[in-house]
Every structure is written in structure tokens, then in C-alpha cells.
Symmetry: C2
Subunit: 298 residues, 2 copies
Amino acid sequence: MEIKSYLKEQRLLVEAAFDSYIPAATGDFAKHIEAMRYSLLAGGKRVRPILCIAAARAVGGNTIDDQNILPVACALECIHTYSLIHDDLPAMDNDALRRGKATNHVLYGEAGAILAGDGLLTWAFDLLCNPSHGNLDSEKKLAISHCIAHAAGSFGMVGGQALDIASENTRFPFETLQTIHRSKTGALITASVVSGAIAAGADREQSEALKQYGHQIGLAFQIVDDLLNATATTEQLGKAAGSDIELGKATYPAYFGIEETRKRALNAIEKAKTCLKDFDDKAQPLRLLADYIYTRSH
Amino acid sequence: MEIKSYLKEQRLLVEAAFDSYIPAATGDFAKHIEAMRYSLLAGGKRVRPILCIAAARAVGGNTIDDQNILPVACALECIHTYSLIHDDLPAMDNDALRRGKATNHVLYGEAGAILAGDGLLTWAFDLLCNPSHGNLDSEKKLAISHCIAHAAGSFGMVGGQALDIASENTRFPFETLQTIHRSKTGALITASVVSGAIAAGADREQSEALKQYGHQIGLAFQIVDDLLNATATTEQLGKAAGSDIELGKATYPAYFGIEETRKRALNAIEKAKTCLKDFDDKAQPLRLLADYIYTRSH
């Protein structure tokens, strides 16, 4: 299996699912929904949805029905996209560029962008809790929704972003940086993997292994993001490079330098793959995804 | 039954439940959770939670376990509070005062307030989808979560707020005002009633009657809000009076004048009570709540 073609194929699967699971920009709320769709469809690697699908297939292989996993995958991308829209706001990171395109508030105004974010976050739960989508039993749907809500909220992504903003231009211990990374980025990545596992009916051992895999790749993902922000150009990133330094944000490279940071990313990737030791070939995409996260750092 | 003592008793019940269902401001995310709690605990009539509880008891009376309905009631108040925090932001209505107190962004900054809102919205679904709270079956919890997500989102509250903001200082037909009211305010009020009905295991006829009751009191509630904004003082409101005119917002009084607007509110209240004609004395609080909404206009 070649990771690039796998990623492209899965990305196209997720993007095709948006047609089924994301409202069209018509009717009374057309302009608002257009703002939501603009950011959702503005590209991106679709890492979280792909992790969710890959985790489900690592457990259940081809017995997993797309209709059961794609609404979850789309909901994860809605939540990720909303977080980017709100993070980019003038009151937060004040970014004008994202994935090489104008950020939401540049096009739709601050109020429009705040509401586009609110709309995407709420739509995620509309999707996850919709009894009409797929045929997972209610208990599983509820467990998935709870797992994602907890990871996306005040003890996960939102709390991490609050801590990140509050920590700008302050000196703080490395433990605080770990807390920020684990909550702001790691929690939703872990939930992406775990929600796929729940959908596939993973047993307790499989779930725990996939959760630990999620923790490790979440950590690696954030370390690599820090590295890219420090070393890549704005053109390569599609967003402002070096913005972490400008905003006075603590990062892995600021603590450890570039080389040691790379080693730590690689270490997390190796640990992630070790978590999959009891899985068979159906988990191969998860192994390749782990490697892929590290290769982004070069 | 006296409505004022009923409302006070129910309000205290809901506020006591916050201790069980809303996180304490401790730990890594203390400051962020403090911002969430500040607005949640800043007072308010707790109309949505009380409607939810009253609707459940209209169906099931005292057989309804508090443990099953209070998490839903608290989640509704979290969603309502988040919408106020985001509506008050400088990019939206730019209000410095709410319930006689400083608005969230005045105290916690714009970024802090955006994240406090995001946190409360997400916490609502964490609560609603938590398998550990109460003993409602998963199917009911999922139906309640979906009902509330749909009402709070892009086809309900968020969409209505987007339309409201977009319509400032423009002339638009009365139908658009109705759409704004129905979505921005009416949808979550209706969902409050319907979610109570679902929790209590209402049959199809009861659910439909309670839904129509919700529509009518939602309409009345918004008309009365328009009236109060036009006629009450800032001191009476605890927020800036006359702000609708200042922001160039269309309102019922702007279309119909004060007296005709009052008549329309009263008409909606009468229709709401008619929806309850097949309910027994257990629905008495819902009838009194309808009357109470109208008396706020004087």
C-alpha cells in the first residue's frame, strides 16, 4: 500500500460524503451555510476523518459500512474546521491566510465567522446524534458523541486553546506545554481514532490500544506542527510561517531545538506503531498514517 | 399554584443542579471554566430548563426522576448562555451589560469569551450524551440530543442569529422577521419543551401538542422581548434598552406599533394554552408559564 494514493482515495471519500451530510447553501440561511461550507471545503488533509475510518477498518475491515462511519468522519471534520475558524479570528491568532486562502472572517466578517464556527460545531452533533444516519445502535452513537464532545470541549480542544491564548508571551514549565498540546490537538485526534473503534465494536483491549496509538500520533502531530511553523515558509504552509515566535508561543523547538524535537516526534511515532502490535494487516493504514505524520516534518 | 413561587422553586432546583453537572473552576483549565461559570451563574430566569422540566412533568408527573431531566435542563441553559455570550461580543451586538452585570468579554477578553461560549456549547452535548447521567435509555438520550442540536444550530438559533445580524439596517418583509424569531428564539424554546416530552416518554399526540405549545410560547416570548426592548428602561432590563432601534433591527413594534404587538403576544399565549386542552392538572405549570411570559410585557 502506498500512503499517498491511500490518503488521496480516503480524502476523496470524505469529501464526497460532505455532499450527503453537510447542508447545501440554499434557503433562508444560505449565506450562513455558505460561510460554513467555504471553510469546510477549503481543502485540508482530512486527517481526523481518515484516522476514524482507518481505526474502524483496523478492527472490522470491510464489514464496516460506510453509512455508519462517514457521518462520524464528517462530524470530526466539522469540529476541526470550526476550531480553525475561531482560532483565526482577530481576537485569537488573527490569521488572514489558511491553506493558502483567505480566512473565514476576512470573507464573511467577524460575526459571520463566529457563527459559521458555532454552526459547524453544532452541526457535528446534529450529524452524530441523528437517528436516521446509518444503522449503528443508539448506545454506540451515544458513546461516540460523548467521546467526541468531551475531547472537543473544555477539558480538550477548547480548554487547550484557552490555555494556549492565556500563555502567549509568558514563561511556563514544559508540563504546561504538554497539557496544551495534549488538549488542544491530541484530544480530538485520539477521539477520532477511538470513535472509529467504537463504531466498529472494538473490544476493551483493542480500544485501549487504539487510544494509546491516538495519544502518540496526536503528540507527534503537534510536535511536527511546531517544527513546520519554525522551519517551513509561508508558501509551504499555506498560512503565516513563524507566527508562533511572533505570538510569543512556547513550542517544542523553543524548548529543545530542532534536532531534539525531531527525535521526540520520531519516538512518538515508534510508540504509536508499537501500540498496534496485536493488530493484523487491517491496521496497515494506521501504521502508514503514523509514518506519514513524521515525514511531514521534512 | 402561584407562578412566582413555582418559578423561584424551579429556578433554585436548576441552579442547585449546576453543582452536579457543571465543572468546577479548578485544575489546568480553571480560568476558562471560571469564564463559563461566570455567565452561567450570572442569573437569568432559567426559562428553558423550567419549560423542559414542566413539559416532562406534564406527561409523567412525579414519576419523572430528577436525575433524568436535570442534565437536559442544565444543557439547555448552557446553550442559551453560550448564545448570549457570543451575541454580546463586540463583533455582534457589542453589549457591555447583561442582567445588570458586565458581559463575558468585558471581564475575560474577546478570545476568552468566544472560548467560554464554545466550551458551554460543547459541554451541553457532553452532558446530554453522557451515558453515566440518569437512566434514560440511549435511544431517548440520542433523540433529545438530536432535537436540541438541530434547534440550536444553523437551521435554528445560530442560523437565526446570522440572519438577524445580516438584516441590521436593511428593510425586509415581515416574513423574514418571522423566520428570524422562529429560528433565533423559538427553536430552542420549542426544543426545551419537546426534549422534556421525550424524556417523559410522551406519545405521538402529546409530543405534537407540546411542540405546538412550544412554537406559540416561543413566538410570544420573542414578541415580548421586542416590546420590552422598545418600552422598558435599561435599569428594568439589566441590559441596554432601545438597542434594537439603535442597531436598526426590525421588530414587531416597528411593524405593528405597541398595542397591536401586545395583542399578537396575547393571541399566541391563548393558542399555546389551547394546545394543552387534552392535558390534565399536571400541565398546570405550563399554562401558568404561558401567562407569565405575557405578563412580562407590562
